[in-house]
């Protein structure tokens, strides 16, 4: 989970661009990652990242430090990404095929964590798995398994209760195993 000092947030809220850039440098990867996993393509993820940080800058003054900054940021990122995904879904048809070209282009070059030989295959698998899940389950899987948030943090970021997080993860995993597992049908 992100940790940005209160002082940095306050300075950014007062219009200090250096402090705001510090926030961006620290958290843009998380925001972009969430946006990319929700929208499924680079262009939309970048659009979401821009919109999120412009909104963050405008709304920083209203952030009351009652919740963690990261939770607030994830919530904005998730809402913005889902809204754009829905909008684009309507524009392009019912579902958006995830961008298969992404893994092949230079996107994220040299920035991937680890150096898995099967990195590209895994990327394709992850995209396909996420695409097979409904929005709510997808959001939980992204925040829990890709971003590593605790259940409580996922609940706060999505504005849902803890049991909903558990049941969405449960259903998502059952579905993934039934679709992608050899023994899936036995479960």
């Amino acid at each position: 989970m992100l940790k940005i000092s209160d002082d940095t947030i306050k300075r950014a809220a007062e219009g200090d661009m250096e402090a705001f850039e510090e926030i961006y440098r620290y958290s843009s990867g998380y925001v972009h990652s969430v946006a990319y996993r929700i929208t499924g393509n680079r262009q939309d993820a970048e659009e979401v990242t821009q919109d999120v940080f412009v909104r963050v800058y405008r709304k920083l003054g209203t952030f009351g430090f009652r919740s963690a900054f990261s939770t607030w940021l994830y919530r904005i990122a998730m809402n913005t990404a889902i809204n754009l995904y829905r909008k684009k879904s309507k524009e392009r048809g019912k579902t958006i095929p995830f961008d298969d070209a992404v893994a092949a282009d230079k996107y994220g070059e040299g920035k991937e964590e680890g150096n898995n030989i099967d990195g590209e295959d895994n990327e394709k698998l992850v995209r396909s798995m996420l695409e097979s899940l409904p929005e709510g389950q997808r959001a939980c899987v992204i925040l829990r398994n890709i971003e590593g948030l605790k259940y409580e943090e996922v609940a706060r970021a999505l504005g849902i209760n803890l049991n909903t997080v558990r049941s969405r993860l449960n259903r998502a995993r059952e579905r993934l195993i039934s679709l992608y597992g050899k023994r899936g049908k036995d479960l």
């Binding site: 990867g29 993820a45 990242t49 821009q50 800058y57 920035k111 993934l176 195993i177």
Partner: protein, 158 residues
């Protein structure tokens, strides 16, 4: 613990490390005896968790920051312009009120005496016309104020 309950836990809290130590020990004890639940646990981890944990982290291009910065700065200057316009508008609104009151006073100063004069003039005109009618009636005997005494006017003074 029975298989049904263990599997529910395996799909979520167990693989996510969100169990209390006591429950975790109970689940582990069950799995030592139950091969089917061990298989389920393996499937959950390998199929539904590990691919996501191994997923690449994606970072935005540098252009994204440049765009954000320019949008924020444009918003700031827009904000400054809006604030300046707002100040002007507020000042003008205040001045407008002053102008309106002043204009009303000026109009009052101009119109009221005129209206008064007009009404005075109308009264005088009415008085004069009555007087003229009266005098006229004295001459002809047909006016609104005719005095028909049965003798000519001239005889009255002779």
């Amino acid at each position: 613990m029975r298989c049904g309950k263990v599997r529910k836990i395996l799909f979520t809290a167990y693989v996510d490390g969100e169990l209390t130590e006591k429950t975790r020990q109970e689940v582990l004890a069950h799995m030592e005896k139950c091969g089917k639940c061990r298989e389920v646990e393996k499937d959950v981890r390998e199929i539904a968790v590990y691919p996501f944990v191994r997923a690449r982290k994606h970072f935005p291009s540098e252009e994204v920051w440049r765009n954000i910065k320019s949008r924020v700065e444009a918003g700031l200057s827009q904000g400054r312009i809006s604030a300046a316009l707002e100040r002007v508008r507020e000042t003008m609104f205040f001045r407008k009120k002053v102008f309106a009151v002043a204009a009303a006073c000026i109009l009052a100063v101009i119109i009221i005496p005129r209206t008064y004069n007009n009404s005075q003039n109308r009264k005088i005109a009415y008085f004069l016309s009555e007087e003229m009618d009266f005098l006229d009636s004295l001459g002809t005997g047909n006016g609104a104020f005719s005095l028909d005494l049965g003798i000519p006017m001239e005889d009255l003074f002779m």
